[in-house]
């Protein structure tokens, strides 16, 4: 299966060319358009129980779509917000994805739900997090541009800007500074990441957009 990420970085969308018998797993609602030769089947993502947990605590959808073809065809996948996408090739390692970041993966990739902890929940990032592992490609996206950072020791990230990170990284919710700074800096709670490992960030935050719009509704 060939892929191309087009219209980067503002309006990234994923073009996939499937040959006979190939399949791909995609986030529910991600399909923008496709050849008629492609069949769509929705299934619980990672089994019923995990799908339910994912829905209830991960803020993700209950179902995923498996797209396949008997004869070949192409499809375009996108995300609800404007922004960039990344592809990561898994060779046995794993990656944690924040809610809403997942777009698609090869069917050889396994999806599971990992406990993210009360701290993650406090930072409004969900009690569970999506873990992708195994071998194969995974495509994910964010709102705005995607920045990559290799961290060695500690690094501070605004929680709504976190997209994905390697499992070697541990998370802690903390204050951005002293109590006064945290209250008035507009940063509030932040994530303190401890490496080593790679982290993917988005350059804009949908929560911040919503807060901005809310402040203008009267």
């Amino acid at each position: 299966m060939e892929y191309e990420i087009r219209n980067r970085p503002a309006f990234a969308n994923l073009l996939l060319r499937l040959t006979r018998g190939e399949r791909v797993l995609a986030e529910s609602g991600a399909m923008a358009s496709m050849s008629s030769s492609i069949q769509v089947r929705s299934r619980f993502s990672g089994g019923f129980f995990m799908a339910l947990l994912r829905k209830l605590f991960g803020g993700e959808s209950l179902f995923m779509n498996e797209l396949s073809t008997d004869s070949g065809g192409e499809l375009v996948l996108t995300q609800p917000t404007p922004g960039d996408m990344e592809c990561m090739e898994l060779k046995g390692q794993a990656l944690f994805l924040q809610a809403g970041a997942f777009i698609a993966c090869d069917t050889s990739v396994s999806l599971s739900l990992g406990w993210a902890g009360i701290r993650s929940w406090l930072a409004r990032e969900g009690l569970f997090r999506l873990k992708v592992s195994g071998t194969g490609r995974v495509w994910f996206g964010g709102y705005g541009g995607i920045l990559t950072k290799e961290i060695q020791s500690e690094y501070v990230v605004d929680s709504s800007h976190l997209v994905a990170y390697e499992p070697s990284i541990s998370l802690k919710v903390g204050l951005s500074g002293g109590v006064a700074t945290s209250l008035f800096s507009g940063e509030g709670l932040v994530m303190r990441l401890r490496g080593p490992g790679r982290v993917y960030l988005q350059s804009r935050s949908i929560d911040a957009l919503a807060a901005w719009v809310n402040s203008h509704i009267y």
Partner: protein
Amino acid sequence: MQTEILARPSAAVARLTLRAGETITCEVGAMVAMSTGFQVETTTRQRGSGGLWAGVKRMVSGENFFLNKFTARADGEHLIIGPTLVGDVIHHELVGAGTLIVQGSSWLASGPGVEIDTSFQGIGKALFSGESVFWIKCSGRGDLLLNSFGSIYEVDVQDSYVVDTGHIVAFQDTLQFTVGKLGDSWLHTMLSGEGLVCHFSGRGKLYCQTHSPPGFGHELGPMLRPR
């Protein structure tokens, strides 16, 4: 009329330069800036489509009741028009037989030789092809300006093709479409998160947009507080 598209693709606008007496009809609210030599007329009428009744039909189909008509009083007057959402603008020239069916919110402006009609698809397709999706039939000759949420990609449909309703910009009327389920069963259609999709058949050009305005609305909407 000369057309130049600026600030592509993330926040495109069209800069139109008109000769004396030339006219362009635009979506209400599309004007960003213009030189002073324009006569602006707010109308319910586009060429050939009759007056008040045409306005009512446009309103029923979800579009604005009014249109703005800009007529240049002298050569070289220019007008900058753009859509509300971030995204691209394209210029499509209609030549005679090449009728284009445009998704309502993608229509930005058209020249005087282009006739626009919103009534032809029937109420069924207007209602069931998705949230706030209505169709404008653009025929005749002249300039047509379309806008998209995100980038525009072109698909050369040879036989059949499937598009999620929020992603259609426009298509040639050599293509037919039916609104229906995705996949084999209604259950999968409901569970797939795609809702209803448009099944195209025939041969012709199809313009799609990379992002769906209703999709973005559903992402942002739940986070907003009630007014």
